[in-house]
Symmetry: D2
């Protein structure tokens, strides 16, 4: 039986999870931009990594954190364990104790701080979307790549174990020729915008709405799992009252045509009443099908051609991706553990143990997602199928 062979446990099949040897790793100073959602998620990961990573090459040290509001930033520093609160991102860029600049700020603060940090010789991780459009993303990628630092665009869903398992299976040919991909990222808070940061609705700050916030994740997963889109045909809507002011999109829907011949659909919306955080996809190949839903992130649905019915594979067994960090079989992880996997991968890349690509997203991946999102936006406006074409660095 060939299936799931790529993730087979090593001989002997030890079922105990990773209680490893001592940590004898060099340290790298972390400077964090952002004290809110992503600042908290990334920080928690840095705090967990030394305790759970089996063979840690580089230990993160929390040097400084920066945010908009000084009092809030001071509180975050105290709570999260940063040695100091910085006065702003320039302060982080200037600090020689910082070797890794982590950008969890709003979209309009992605380009300048990230480029500056890289040009100051710091490795960089930047939240998605990389820039507010393809042009800005290209600029960020080119400027950072030119410095030679390690860069990662934080498409964290690549680091869900079930997603990584899917990628490995597809890359090993277990699905055969791909026929279809369908992916949707559905949220519902658009009906209650007061609950969210105002910047997310401002085109000047956010660049776009559901497109950059949610569809970019979906585009990255399509590229990660199924390959490059060749063309898109799309529609978009803004459902909130805008009073005539410029407004970001609330929802997009697109037909995808992939290199290699597969076709499919991609949707992202903030107006799917009842769907709180449903990122779900299915990929059909001529030898099998895989399906995933972030709402049940420890499971992967697997169908092998010629068999009877889908299997619900619980991805927390020996040999599963990232299993060695955690617990005995069947003790599932949560959403925030994806950041542990992602930032550990980044630290390993900085330590020279692995390249960021293909399992992590580089800034080139951030740029490419923006190219596809821009094509969706253009097709929605013109009603014409838009080809996808990427520039080189």
């Amino acid at each position: 039986m060939r299936w799931v062979v790529v993730v087979a446990a090593p001989p002997g099949r030890p079922r105990r999870c990773g209680y490893s040897g001592p940590v004898d790793a060099a340290a790298i100073g972390v400077g964090m931009l952002g004290t809110a959602f992503m600042g908290k998620a990334h920080t928690l990961a840095y705090r967990m990594i030394p305790a759970v990573a089996p063979d840690l090459a580089l230990r993160p040290e929390l040097v400084a954190i920066a945010g908009r509001d000084p009092a809030r930033t001071a509180a975050a520093a105290a709570r999260y364990g940063y040695a100091r609160a910085a006065s702003g991102w320039e302060d982080l860029v200037a600090d020689p104790a910082i070797g890794l600049f982590d950008n969890g700020g709003p979209n309009d603060l992605h380009a300048a701080p990230t480029i500056a940090a890289a040009e100051a010789g710091k490795h960089v991780v930047c939240e998605k979307p990389l820039g507010r459009d393809a042009d800005e993303s290209l600029e960020i990628w080119r400027r950072v790549a030119a410095t030679g630092v390690v860069h990662l665009c934080a498409f964290n869903y690549r680091f869900v174990p079930a997603v990584r398992l899917a990628r490995d299976m597809i890359a090993a040919g277990e699905l055969g020729d791909l026929r279809h991909v369908r992916i949707r990222y559905l949220q519902s808070w658009g009906a209650d915008p007061a609950t969210h940061d105002r910047w997310r609705f401002d085109p000047a700050v956010a660049g776009s709405g559901a497109l950059g916030d949610l569809a970019s994740h979906a585009v990255d997963l399509v590229r990660f799992l199924a390959g490059e889109p060749a063309a898109v045909s799309a529609a978009a809507r803004t459902f909130r009252p805008t009073d005539g002011r410029p407004a970001v999109d609330d929802a997009v829907a697109a037909v995808l045509e992939l290199d290699g011949g597969a076709i499919g659909t991609l949707e992202a919306t903030r107006f799917a009443t009842g769907r709180i955080n449903q990122l779900a996809w299915e990929i059909n190949g001529d030898r099998g099908t895989l399906a995933f839903n972030l709402e049940r992130l420890n499971e992967l649905e697997v169908f092998e051609a010629g068999s009877r019915g889908f299997r619900t594979v619980v991805v927390s067994e020996p040999g599963d991706p990232h299993w060695d960090l955690w617990w005995p079989p069947g003790h599932g992880i949560g959403w925030d553990h994806t950041f542990v996997h992602e930032l550990l991968h980044l630290l390993r890349a900085i330590a020279g143990e692995t390249p960021v690509a293909p399992h992590g997203a580089t800034f080139e991946d951030g740029y490419r997602a923006a190219v596809v999102c821009d094509a969706i936006r253009r097709s929605a406006e013109t009603g014409v199928r838009e080809p996808v074409a990427y520039a080189a660095a």
Copy 2:
């Protein structure tokens, strides 16, 4: 609590299912064209209807059946209980004992027999797709409508109780303004074409592939539940080797833009490995969401804005659509019972108790589905968003 009010049981809430009074109904003679899949499904329904329908106005009498192969037709007549095997559809049209002509033949046998039967004064039911394209469908509709007989296009999924419940809820405004519809009809036998009738792959006979066979069902449900499509943007693929001969599509994917502002996606394929017969949809409105999957056809997923989580409503309770035909609560029906509901509805329409529309599909609905399918085909070819526009009778 306003929800599901439209289907509330009558006061007193009798939980016993419909053991009704005597059948004192006039009879109508049925002539069946087709001995295979649909011939069997429709016939079984005619045999069940008198035993389960609570207040039957018109009792179907199985007069004659016609098919391509005489021996097979004779066997079908004996097995299904038709009084005689006909020599061909013209024989059915000529038989004065037949008051209802049921067309379950291949797509290229929809137009001529159905029109002839109607012009001979017989009521008609025709399997979907009505014609092989919009032009042929328009011709059938116009010619039949001109005769004044009752006509029904057999989009049987309108008669799944959960689908009908969804329609009633949406029509009653329980979902508010619609934002999204996503629908897919996934099958997988395209990889194994030898298992199916050859005519389904012949453009001259079938007209199209997954488009007419599967997408037409999806289009009808979108229209039934969420309203009229205004425009489509699409892609299509033929995955089977065609050796350069004309070939039908194996899969289509489309973005939908509906009258009223909702957007969504529609897919149909014979190449979704592992998905045997998955017709699934979800509709999001600003007051709620409904979701359905034919694989679990006795269930409807319901979300009300402001509540906590989706409810799995088991549609076999007093007050549910078609409940009075069947069993105590929780004793679910099967796929073939949809034909009992559909053909009972047709008999009631012939008896003058109800119009076919809006709960059943008329030939106009058959034509409109063909218009949308043609728009999908054209958009897939040209790469341009296609508007949807209907002719009048």
Copy 3:
């Protein structure tokens, strides 16, 4: 891969469902006792069988139906298609045109009519529970067996295709040594007794409550799938107010110890709020596990030792039990189709094509279920583990 081999399709794997040759079968006259729930369910099956059974050896002919109320009985005869309404069960027993006596009456009408019919030389099918307790059941079995007629106790859940598939897999050793069985039959209408026939709450008529009505099904499935119970330890409750009058149980719970060493649990209740008709079981063996839920009766959950995760097998494929009666793959059946399977099996047994056992339940099985139910009742009363011991005919 050995799994599900026992149900493999014949070579060539025809995917079209059973459109078979002509029906050239002898007829057998059916006399039905009961016009309500079971009368309707059985009758509908008799009406469907000739149209769907691939190779019918014996064609049921609806001769007469009997019930308590003459008007209602006359209406049922007309509606269901019986040639006449009988004045009572004695009338059915006396009718030489009747070769098969079908007892769908209340529990206190099981013994006398069934024995009389058998002694009049008619084959008999009797609804469950066979008698109101083990003694009465033994009497029925012995008296009927002595006549030499074919007898079937209508434990229809043996004829759910997924249940039959499970039985075949276990019998073929695919689960290895059994470790556990857990089964529950949960309903909720006990809170609303006015919705049900009053006789179900009268100990003199019903014999018991949830025990005979629901637990008997569960006991039969344990015996059918996992083998004979050796001992039970139980508790029972009556939740309804009884005003001091004798009352049937509303719920039972038991620990099972099986021959062969497996242990498990069995529950039946009419007070599981929200569970309308949940008959669910799971069986663990050292080589695999199977799980089933009547609410999704077209599915069987399958786990093979050494594999990754449970597979949801959709039981409507070529080679699946009873598949040849119905539709192409993925077109699921409903609850009432189990009676088609069951009564077709009975007709084949009468025609000498197959014995009733082991796939159908004989009156001996009806008796044995009653023995286990009695042991549950006694253990609930005494608080002592009760052994299970069967008498011979």
Copy 4:
């Protein structure tokens, strides 16, 4: 609509998760016994708590860790961030810098170290089962209670948000009178014992098998959610070959009778092939039903009497238990986050902000679980229903 009212969000409904003010908390030194599974899980929680707890009263400081193997202990200290590796548990008890003794050792190391630590004035948390039987558990409880320190028995599943929500709903009367509880804790690694610590199979060390390891969790949840058991009737099995040596049970099954009249079933096994870590329960009351499965721990199934169908409540919304520690709605937590909740609760109890009971388990709860487990063991041996009776401190 009264439901789920007990967990309603505060007015204004802030949807942002808990980014709180600075941490200005006193510290308490932690001494950890155990470097393996529980040592890691508890330590990770202590590391996370300061970063996520909204209003931290007492900050855990990792002082020392003790284990069997010195090299392994040193490695654990380095990795987990303890200031030093201790030479043994006596060393922890003697250290004045330690104010909280955390016992994650094997069962035979629960009594002596925990009692000694408490008598040295340290607050104590002890893994379950508290002792190897009821007598030992009573001794631990009485000795520790006499010292006046805060004590918590680590039944961490009380701290799954969905379980806590269920408890709050039931305590608020939302389920009405309870009728049934059914609970099972199914694992499958018993077939592969080499993968687990040998001490778990040694009666002298472990006390019991599935009973203390798994059934104790189930018993605690029954008590936490549904109330006190009054009697049990049980069976037990040892499936592994024991070569005649004393062996622990591999599986138990029991009928429960609760104070208040509800009945139900409880199972625990290490031999449920395919079930990796399924702790699942359902509770039926006359006003509603709740159901939970640890495999999908962010969800609670809710049924309200009079409504249509179960709702899948995703427990990560404002107002849900423990929500203020984590993320925006729909970003689920993992298994290990239960320890964050549990140990934070303990720290708050030590700070005097809340008692341990009723939301956390005290040593009295640990003792009572042991009493019920002992009754199960006795009933399995004798075949007689065993009453449950507790001693006072």
